[in-house]
């Protein structure tokens, strides 16, 4: 595998693991950052599908050879989608912060309440 290809593989691995780690954190800001990293990871793996990634796109090199445009088109679409949704997530995280004055992911209150329903019976 060529050097740029290997570099991409390492980058993808780091982005996926970092992204999932952040996704599992309590702070909403970290969750959003995790999503951003995961989005980059997926887009880079789309790039990885092209073995000739080092070739220029569209206009061609000396022999007129070009890299595969399809993964790039797909990555472009995916970037637009992840970008849009990330903005939305940020807006939501801001609303959570406005409401609660912190950006922690709260416990599931309904579950807690249903868990407590059993307690009076136990104690009596």
């Amino acid at each position: 595998m060529s050097a740029p290809g290997l570099l991409l593989v390492v980058a993808v691995a780091v982005l996926y693991s970092g992204g999932f780690y952040l996704l599992l954190q309590r702070s909403l800001m970290r969750v959003v950052l995790g999503i951003v990293m995961l989005g980059h990871a997926a887009n880079l793996s789309l790039m990885l599908t092209d073995e000739a990634i080092t070739l220029p796109p569209l206009l061609g090199g000396p022999q007129g050879e070009i890299s595969d445009p399809l993964p790039q088109a797909m990555a472009l679409t995916a970037i637009v989608i992840t970008f849009g949704v990330t903005t939305f997530l940020l807006a939501l995280a801001y609303r959570v912060w406005l409401g609660d004055n912190n950006d922690e992911v709260p416990d599931d209150l309904e579950d807690r309440r249903i868990g407590r329903l059993r307690e009076p019976e136990d104690s009596s």
Binding site: L23, L28, A41, L46, T49, M74, T77, A78, G84, I114
Partner: protein, 507 residues
Amino acid sequence: MNLMIAVPFVVPLLGAALALLLRRSPRAQRVSSAVTLAVVVAGATLLLDTTAGGAVAVTQAGGWDAPLGITLVVDPLSALLLLVSSVVLLLVLLYAVGQDISGLSRAMPQVFHPIYLVLTAGVCLSFMAGDLFNLFVGFEIMLTASYALITQALTRERVRASMIYTVVSLTSSILFLTGIALVYALTGTVNLADVAEKLGGAPPELRAVLALLFLVVFGIKAAIVPMHFWLPDSYPVAITRISAIFAALLTKVAVYAIIRTQTLLFAGDDISSVMLWIAIATMVVGILGALVQDDINRIMSFVLVSHIGFMIFGLALNTVAGIAGVLYYLVHHIVVQATMFLVNGLVRQYVGHTSLRSIRGLTAVSPVLALFFFLPALSLAGMPPMSGFVAKVALFEAGAQAGGWLVWTALVAGVLTSLLTLMAIFRVWVRAFWGTPLPDMLEARAELRRGPDVAGRRVMAVTTGAMVGAGIAVTVGAGPLLEIAFTAAEDLLDGDAYIEAVMEGAT
């Protein structure tokens, strides 16, 4: 080029643009949205007619031929789901219009109408997409619309729920994208028919990995155990019309995607034992969750999770009878689940919430409401002669034919789940519908009767009644529906008709 196929996708998008333009005049907006969805229903009916007998209709949007162009495919399965979904979408829209007229909802109609139609377009595109990337785009259109819809009438609770919902859906979308990248690296194409042909030569281990990855991707969206935690946290919190349409359609679109990918792309791979275990876990965990909840909407959400298990079970059998059973189950479940949530919305009129702790004697407050709850609830629990019973019998029969200890274990789990569903439903029935009504419920009824918003409430009641009627139609029409389901299932397991129809222009 067959223009008819594009109707269920293009018309709602145009309708959404129109609804946006008409936002200053609510009445025109309502009419245009309803007409748009009626056109989609008509288009879907025609498509179902074209695909009768197992024909596959294909159009290459943009004029590029199959492996490169954007392929839209309608086979009997897609056509059936398009029709059922569009009917449910139309009825829920009318219900929402009723709510808006009566002023019972805090949702903003000028926002709701355009986004709802975009959601419709996304759902329809997902059913028709002929390549993986387009399926991804269809999913994204649907999900992005759903992110906006779930935040309607925003409260603190809803902010929290939509955060969970968005993050989980987005994670699954990103995994989907990864799956697409892997498939493209392996085969050099994303066209479903082309991938199906080229995957045949790939190493079986790689194909098994891809099959499992796609099962996880769509499994998150279909809320199969152990990836179901987000659903009962987010769906019940949204406003009635939204939770109705989410519960009815979004998980089912994911189930459709599982059916499509597993039968077409990974036909030769045997992950059926994994799927059977998943089915057992989904059925049992879901229904046990339903038994301890005390909010009707949350109970229904857990029942929804549990019944996804039945669909996975039928698919895992990998026989014509099994898949036909799943397809009928899908149709039944889309209609019945939407009805249950609409009925819960009607309950909310009297008490302002759906918590079992302070609802008593709804039968005395509104006998019609009790009937509207009772019929779909029996169907959901699989009591004869309702459609749920027909669907379950079809699935169990297919299971008994397939045999094997794991299948029998799943069958026992399925019967157990049916009984426990009945128990969950009767818990709701006994606690909410029997007994003497609470005084404030009678007051609420008196106030509603005096209120100036009777027309809107009548629309809500009539559309809920129509949904109950649609549920009964699914029961009465079980014969022809199962016939379509069998044709579709044969098509799915064969696969050649689909591949040939798509690749025709390519050579």
